[in-house]
């Protein structure tokens, strides 16, 4: 009996929509746009977050990262507010810093990194990529594997050989087959490099499009200032992380002021970045929710009109035994169906947009976003439907029956 009753409600609501197709469609349009914008904004936020996480995960674990400026200054109370300067200003690390850091015995790897975006040329193609100057340990720290050829060694570094390892994407772009790359010569700016290896694709934009070279080779040319942007210290023993951090700080403080550099762990950076993105995302979603609100008000408006139109019907239903609760359920079913319909439509369109856009931009949808979209649209249906439905339920039966 209960199920039959529920089905009766849904069927009656759907028949009502059929009679007012345009009106029902326009009403759910508001919710559709609201859900569409909220879901898209969530997808964008999630996509960026995932992108950043990938960037960090592509670095091995147990990593201490040193870079100029000041980000993780929670002990100074600055927190994420100081994130900005971390990317500009502060210390310029040079080879001397790198060599002093190699004296930390607890660090199994010490890897300096210089990076800039450049145009990379083969004989026939020109591609945009990332030029990197580093040492032979970088391959270990970045977890790179050879697809073709080999990686450069310590002797390449000291001999300043003009060799390069290409990321798989870049090799694919410059040559018909990435296998063809080994042995060829590429040009970055005015400098030529012989390709000795191709590194397997990892899903990291910079590495997959990278030209990885011994850092000394580009000193004075591509890296005219002989500086490094980042220095990584890796260890196989998680427990030494704290010691490495402390010792690195001591070493750097001999040359630089506190605040000119940051010594941090990968996980700390990740949580700081996540924090920022959560806030930005929350703000965006809040803005998107305004359209949901407007959509909800649209539903409320139409439901009030529907209640007035059906006053007589309410009277009839009450006379044959409908309780106030029955009437409330009837109108609530309609408003919830309207908003779920709009919400699903918005979700479908958002998913299509995500599918198209993800080729160019990091966006992604997850079950949570889908769940939120459906929960929010039915919530709106209930919230904005309950006032008109209450009005219908509270109509005095006699007056309702006589209503013309």
């Amino acid at each position: 009996m209960k199920i039959q009753n529920g089905w009766h409600l849904v069927k009656a609501a759907l028949e009502g929509f059929k009679r007012n197709k345009v009106r029902s469609l326009l009403t759910s349009l508001g919710i559709m746009i609201g859900v569409l914008s909220v879901v898209l904004l969530i997808a964008l936020g999630l996509g960026l977050k995932n992108y950043l996480r990938q960037q960090f995960e592509s670095l091995g674990a147990n990593l201490v990262i040193i870079f100029p400026g000041n980000i993780s200054s929670s002990e100074e109370g600055g927190g994420i507010a100081n994130f900005g300067p971390g990317f500009a200003g502060g210390a310029d690390f040079d080879e001397k810093d790198y060599l002093s850091l190699t004296r930390i015995s607890e660090a199994d790897y010490v890897v300096p990194l210089f990076m800039k975006s450049s145009v990379i040329e083969s004989e026939t193609e020109r591609k945009f990529g990332y030029f990197m100057g580093t040492n032979e340990q970088a391959f270990k720290i970045l977890n790179l594997e050879t697809l073709e050829g080999k990686f450069f060694t310590k002797s390449d570094l000291t001999a300043r050989t003009k060799v390069a390892v290409l990321g798989q994407n870049l090799a694919d772009g410059l040559y018909e087959d990435s296998k063809d790359a080994v042995g060829k010569t590429i040009r970055v700016g005015e400098q030529r490099f012989k390709v000795i290896g191709v590194a397997k694709k990892k899903g990291d934009r910079e590495q997959d499009n990278g030209v990885i070279t011994p850092y000394k080779t580009s000193f004075g040319t591509l890296n005219s200032g002989k500086t490094f942007f980042t220095i990584y210290l890796g260890t196989t023993d998680e427990k030494s992380i704290e010691v490495i951090k402390r010792r690195a700080e001591e070493i750097l403080l001999k040359r630089y002021k506190k605040g000119d550099f940051t010594v941090t762990e990968q996980t700390e950076i990740l949580s700081t970045v996540n924090q920022i993105f959560s806030i930005v995302n929350a703000i965006l979603v809040a803005i998107g929710s305004i359209s949901l609100l407007v959509g909800g008000i649209g539903i409320m408006n139409i439901m009030y009109a529907t209640v007035t139109e059906r006053t007589k019907e309410v009277g009839i239903r009450r006379a044959v035994g409908a309780t106030q609760w029955d009437i409330l359920k009837q109108f609530l079913t309609e408003s919830v169906l309207l908003s779920i319909f709009g919400g699903s439509l918005g979700l479908i369109i958002a998913s299509l947009i995500v599918l198209i856009v993800r080729r160019f931009f990091p966006v992604s949808l997850n079950l949570l976003a889908v769940f939120i979209a459906i929960a929010v649209s039915s919530g709106i249906g209930i919230f904005f439907g309950v006032f008109p439905a209450r009005r219908a339920a509270k109509l005095p039966p006699i007056e309702a029956i006589r209503y013309e």
Binding site: M1, R318, A319, V320, G321, A322
Partner: protein, 225 residues
Amino acid sequence: MIKLVNVCKSYFLGDEEVKAVCNINLEIKDKDYIGILGTSGSGKSTLMYLIGLLEQPTSGKVILEGKDVSKLSDTDLSKIRNKTVGFVFQQFNLINRFTVLENVLLPTKYSKRDLDFDPIKRADELLTHFGIFDRRNFFPNKISGGQQQRVAIARALIMKPKVILADEPTGNLDSKTGDEIIKLLSSLNKELGVTVIIVTHEKEIAKKTKRRIYIKDGKIVEKYL
């Protein structure tokens, strides 16, 4: 079966209290066939709605099968209406976006207990009995007034009620069709033993009932003038 004891019902028009009916004492027995006769505005419809539990009295008691129902909650009253009372209106009051069959089935949707009959089978039987089975999938605005009123009576009967309350059931019909409807209502009383109460302003119709109640200015009077 239904007893009204000193029942008054008043409305407020702004600050002014208007007594629609007052001091009504009335007993309706099982299988009764009653005509409530009164002019327009005499309070006869209000009286009918009070008997049908669609209105609650301002004062006095409505007793249904020995139980005072005048203070019951909306939900309880609705349940009793659904089970015990069938209404027939002057305007037929069918829902135009539902078919004849769906209209007849409407009260069954609000039954809070399992039905002791198959609703569609019973609806078909009633429609057949009233000679409108071939109209079961029509919409109300596509059938004649007489047919609509039969649908309304079928709807009133579907839950096997104890009492049928008809408010000017012939008011929107021509005299021939009106006679047929009254005959139909009489037969319900005679053959099925349903209590039938017809509210009307027409003496001719009231004459067909077993017992007449005259109402004037909200009070039961001895004689209809």
